[in-house]
């Protein structure tokens, strides 16, 4: 069978695919994407075109409610013992819709700040990106994590307001003002992981809101640059495995899930993607340097302070979209 995998960059490295293909006889075709595009693609294909997708756990129940693009996971086909139990249970909970479970966890990580210490040592929280000292040398994405991060940094709690539309609108209004005010500081809104790495590496950007993994991989080349968990808390995400409604290679999909959750394989993925996985024991085979960087970025209190995304209710994204559009259009 051919496994058509819709995933993030780095989650299906070539060496893993080769091992998988050799072992199972399936072939793997990878399409790299992001959360929005994954949902959009599956919506357009009505849940077809792919056999396995990897959106974040907060993007499953809402999308399922609206577009009916996934099929429930048959847990009997999954070796649950390979998963870190707490993470598996949390994900199951977050991806339940109409009493069916749609997702199991794969990779987790955080969004926070990637900072060039030599040039922008003062940047410690999201709001510091708006400081004059880094004017014109800042970047972040114009996507929902930015809204959430800024809200926390402003002392608000967006997750608590998820199910109270009015309260959430209030929060968004404040964040919108802040982001518009901050706009002159921004060099460009980045889109993909390597893009922000390029910007930081070349020195065109000195501080950014970005994924932890980006900061760590830059740290390898340039000791000044690294990931900093913001004072308001890093935003924790878990990317999952889901089965598109009309996937045709379920068997290969389950085989892939079970294959990559083996600790050795999981470690290979961590080395490639930079983020840790939900594989029990998967961190053992990970490059020591990466573990060190992780520990430097996340002292224990910072780990406790991670804000994990709850499920996004179906209508929120429309509100957020309008805000993001207005920010983008503001001068």
């Amino acid at each position: 069978e051919t496994l058509r995998l819709l995933t993030w960059g780095g989650y299906a490295p070539e060496n893993v695919i080769e091992l998988f293909e050799a072992e199972t006889g399936h072939t793997v075709e990878v399409t790299k994407s992001n959360n929005e595009e994954m949902v959009a693609k599956l919506r357009a294909t009505n849940g077809g075109g792919f056999d396995l997708a990897q959106p974040s756990q907060d993007r499953i129940a809402g999308a399922q409610a609206e577009f009916d693009i996934y099929k429930p996971i048959d847990l009997s086909k999954i070796d649950e013992s390979q998963f870190i139990t707490s993470m598996l249970e949390a994900t199951k909970g977050n991806t339940t819709y109409n009493d069916e479970i749609y997702g199991v966890p794969h990779v987790w990580g955080t969004s926070g700040l990637v900072v060039n210490k030599a040039e922008a040592g003062d940047v410690k929280d999201y709001l510091d990106l708006c400081d004059d000292s880094v004017a014109g040398k800042v970047s972040y994405r114009l996507k929902r994590p930015t809204l959430i991060g800024f809200a926390f940094s402003m002392g608000l709690d967006p997750f608590a307001a998820y199910n109270d539309e009015e309260a959430y609108k209030d929060i968004l209004a404040k964040v919108e003002d802040k982001l518009i005010e901050c706009k002159p500081n921004v060099k460009t809104y980045w889109g993909g992981g390597d893009e922000i790495k390029n910007l930081l590496r070349s020195g065109e950007v000195v501080a950014a809101m970005a994924w932890d993994t980006g900061g760590w991989s830059l740290n390898e080349d340039n000791a000044d640059i690294t990931f900093v968990a913001p004072e308001a808390g890093a935003l924790g995400w878990i990317d999952t495995f889901v089965l598109p409604k009309r996937g045709r290679a379920d068997e290969a999909a389950y085989a892939w899930i079970n294959f990559v959750m083996q600790p050795e394989i999981a470690a290979m993925i961590t080395n490639s993607a930079g983020n840790f996985t939900a594989s029990k024991g998967g961190d053992e085979g990970v490059d020591e340097a990466l573990k060190v960087r992780y520990q430097e970025s996340f002292p224990p209190e910072a780990v406790d302070n991670i804000k994990w995304y709850p499920t996004v209710p179906a209508n929120l994204e429309t509100l957020e979209g309008a805000v993001l559009d207005r920010v983008k259009a503001a001068n």
Binding site: E29, T45, G48, G49, N198
Partner: protein, 286 residues
């Protein structure tokens, strides 16, 4: 103003300088793209870190060259597949359209001709979304009615091919019509007069005459299909043609492997383009 009119030297040289500058402007981006394909750095930008072939032949992460990059090789295959069908459909419909508009008179011909031109003034992205929305609706209805799956009507290569064909057919029609227009109908009549059947005359006389235009339209269709982005973007499913694949990579930031692909693209299309031009020229001179 023209060669035979006296011009002042200042004017002549300023004009030449301008034209030279223009061609520098045209050449510049492509040149740097090609040069950076040999930069021994994981980023396609300065500084120059030395010369390497790694972006073509490398197989060691992160120096994976084009020829070892499965997804690029696969998307080149996809692009070729798409281009083949688009070009085939386009020249088929382009040829029948040409005969329709050049050879026949019918009611509302003007109006239909303008309809035929419409794809030229519809933005590609809109062609893409309209076809997406339509096929989606048809698929939903069919699936509700029959309970079967109609994957061909969902984003994927069939839709990509149809989407590109929807506007490339117009180009093919224009190219082939232009040549058919020049065809002296008495050649066909002469063939009939010499005993050929109607279809025989078209096959032996008209089609050979049209051949350069048909081949030219085919090459143009292939080039346009290969480089199409806007329409394809909205219709692509799991198999991404090369441009889409490259775009995804470019968005994420990429190694100079993209430069290497681009260099290969430039070389191949230059050869294709030159071949088609030489072909046309040989035809004209004969």
């Amino acid at each position: 103003m023209i060669r035979t009119l006296p011009q002042s030297n200042t004017f002549k040289w300023t004009y030449r300088a301008y034209v030279t500058l223009f061609f520098v402007y045209l050449a510049l981006p492509l040149t740097v793209v090609c040069l950076m394909a040999f930069n021994n750095s994981v980023f396609p930008s300065l500084p120059w870190e030395g010369f390497t072939w790694a972006w073509f032949f490398g197989d060691e992460d992160p120096f994976i060259g084009v020829f070892n990059d499965r997804s690029i090789l696969r998307s080149i295959g996809t692009s070729m597949f798409v281009a083949f069908w688009v070009s085939l459909l386009s020249i088929a419909v382009g040829t029948t359209n040409a005969f329709l508009f050049v050879r026949h008179d019918f009611k509302f011909k003007e109006f239909f001709y303008i309809l035929m031109l419409l794809p030229l003034i519809i933005p590609g992205i809109i062609l893409g979304i309209s076809i997406l929305v339509f096929s989606n609706a048809v698929a939903n209805n069919l699936e509700n009615a029959t309970g079967m799956w109609f994957d061909g009507l969902r984003p994927g290569l069939p839709l990509v091919i149809l989407g590109q064909f929807s506007f490339i057919a117009t180009f093919a029609t224009l190219v082939i019509s232009a040549r058919l227009e020049k065809f002296d109908r008495s050649l066909e009549e002469a063939a009939l007069n010499l005993g050929a059947t109607r279809l025989g005359a078209i096959r032996q006389i008209t089609l050979p005459f049209l051949f350069p235009a048909i081949a030219g339209a085919g090459v143009v269709a292939i080039l346009m299909s290969f480089e199409n982005f806007n329409t394809t973007l909205m219709l692509v499913g799991s198999d991404a043609p090369l441009t889409i694949n490259m775009f995804d990579r470019l968005k994420l930031g990429s190694t100079p492997v993209l430069n290497a692909v681009s260099l290969l693209l430039i070389v191949v299309s230059a050869i294709l383009g030159l071949a088609s031009l030489l072909f046309q020229k040989r035809d004209k001179s004969s």
